[in-house]
Amino acid sequence: MSLSSAVLDYLQAQPGVTFKRLYLQPPTVLAVLRRMLPHLAKNIIMAMLFMPEPFLEEDLLTWIRAEARPQRDEAMTVLEQLHILTLVPEPPTPRAYRLNTAFASSLRQALMGGGSTNSFGVPADKDAPGPKRTVEELDKWARKQWEAILYYMVGSAEREYSREGNISSGTRKLLEMGEFIIMRGGRADITKGGFTFLLQEANAQVWTLLIVYLENSESVSSIHTKSKVIENQSKDIEQLQMDPVEMLSFLFMLGSLELGQDYNTESLTKTQFHMLEDLHDFGIVYHPPDARGRFYPTRLATTLTSSDASLLSNPNSSLSMNSGKGSIILETNHRIYTYTSSPLQIAVLALFANLNSCYPNLVSGKLTKKSIQRAVEKGITADQIIDYLRTHAHPQMLKNQPVLPPTVVDQIRLWQIEGDRMEATPGFLLKQFVNANEYRETAQYAENLGVLVWRNDREHMFFVTRIEQLQQYLAKRKTQAPRR
């Protein structure tokens, strides 16, 4: 979940104009549809896509079952936040929903074909010079580059794995800016965010890094060029303004490209061409040094817009970054066995487990109170550990329901909260409601949104994690109130 919500958060923070421009590109629309929307929202969009008239709110409400109210609210909220759906509240006619026109026409274009936007990438000429790269080569490249980044981060925690030098200074700066590492006296130290990052799935990691990249696009570009200046001796890139819309469109386009096919760089804008270098460093694309006019998307790129479920169910499509993905066996006696020889995965495991023996293809260890609390002190949460164990569970473990032994899961949580006798949730307290009705309905709305943490019905106050939608809701309430 963390990944799509990361992208979602980023997108939601964008102004409406950005959306308008983003939605002009069919691949972007396709990616947004596929990656960021709840299942119900996808169905709503498809039902409305070829509807000649706006969808009456009343019809929409009858179409969705009453029991599915929470899902409906979730879907509608996301759709409105991404500016895909707008309510048309013309007073004489009944209220109706309308799809964003740019979104709709791009999606129709994506489904039906046509147009001449070259938005799905222009394949390079077959006769272009230079050797072709096979899928295996690309996989190798992607893995090498990406693991270098991970090694760098793990290495900063565990000295013996330290392998600096493999990654470019731009990437290093980026990691620092994303607060995954902190430079202390020339030494990189991994942060809490860094641990979170490490324990994510590969696809989530890529997105997390890319979001940081997008957020810091201006500064990144300058940093990167500074490091490049020496090599390229070109000054004009320095003035380049990275346009986030173009960057996003490019990323989404990468997600719709075909693995093993080389694409022409001619149709790319300046920003996008420039991004190619950075993405090359991450291992997301391969830009052959001997053929600058072409690039290959790697598996990291082509799976950008696939969801976690698909990666799980289709092992061929996912690039298993840690060569021993799906190799952990956890027993009820807290012993842990992992079939792996990857130093990276061993290093990650060592973050929270007490490893005691290592064989050519197997490490074994134990989760102990000490090891877990050590991890907690570093800023790793119990949930992250549990998630990591679950996503990397051995196929034999997947047969169990639940996958991990519940006793161990509970114990990990207990160990975490042991030192920590309180639970802190940042957010907002809402109080002083005008009347009981207002309180009740607003609280109900917050609960449906899933932001409600605590409520006190007697005192008429409640606590929420996020407030933006509630503000809108309250504002809407106020305008509607006189009419009622």
């Binding site: 006696n333 807290h334 134990k366 989760l367 102990t368 109170k369 000490k370 006793t407 114990q411 207990l414 160990w415 042991e418 030192g419 920590d420 006798r421 309180m422 639970e423 802190a424 949730t425 940042p426 957010g427 907002f428 307290l429 809402l430 109080k431 002083q432 409601f433 005008v434 207002e438 607003t442 943490v453 605590w454 006190n456 005192e459 106050m461 606590f463 407030i467 503000q471 309250l474």
Partner: protein, 79 residues
């Protein structure tokens, strides 16, 4: 008019709440914005880490934990 207060909701049991209140009192009432009920407090946003650290030190001082041998008594101790 509805009022929204930005802060951090702290959910804990009553004994911990008492300790937090004590810490708050000793530090010039800078932590707690509002005591919501017996198990919930609203803490001002920037103070949570400091509060956690102080709470921990109070707890380690007061609660004597019984040492366990690391090897084979992993989960019995906590229950």
């Amino acid at each position: 008019m509805v009022k929204a207060v930005k802060g951090i909701l702290v959910q804990c049991d009553e004994s911990i709440k008492a300790i937090i209140e004590k810490i708050d009192k000793e530090n010039g009432n800078t932590f707690i914005l509002e005591a919501l009920d017996d198990e919930n407090l609203l803490i001002s946003s920037g103070k949570i880490n400091e509060l956690k650290a102080r709470l921990k030190s109070v707890l380690t001082d007061t609660v004597k934990e019984h040492e366990e041998p690391e090897s084979n008594s992993d989960n019995n101790e906590m229950r």
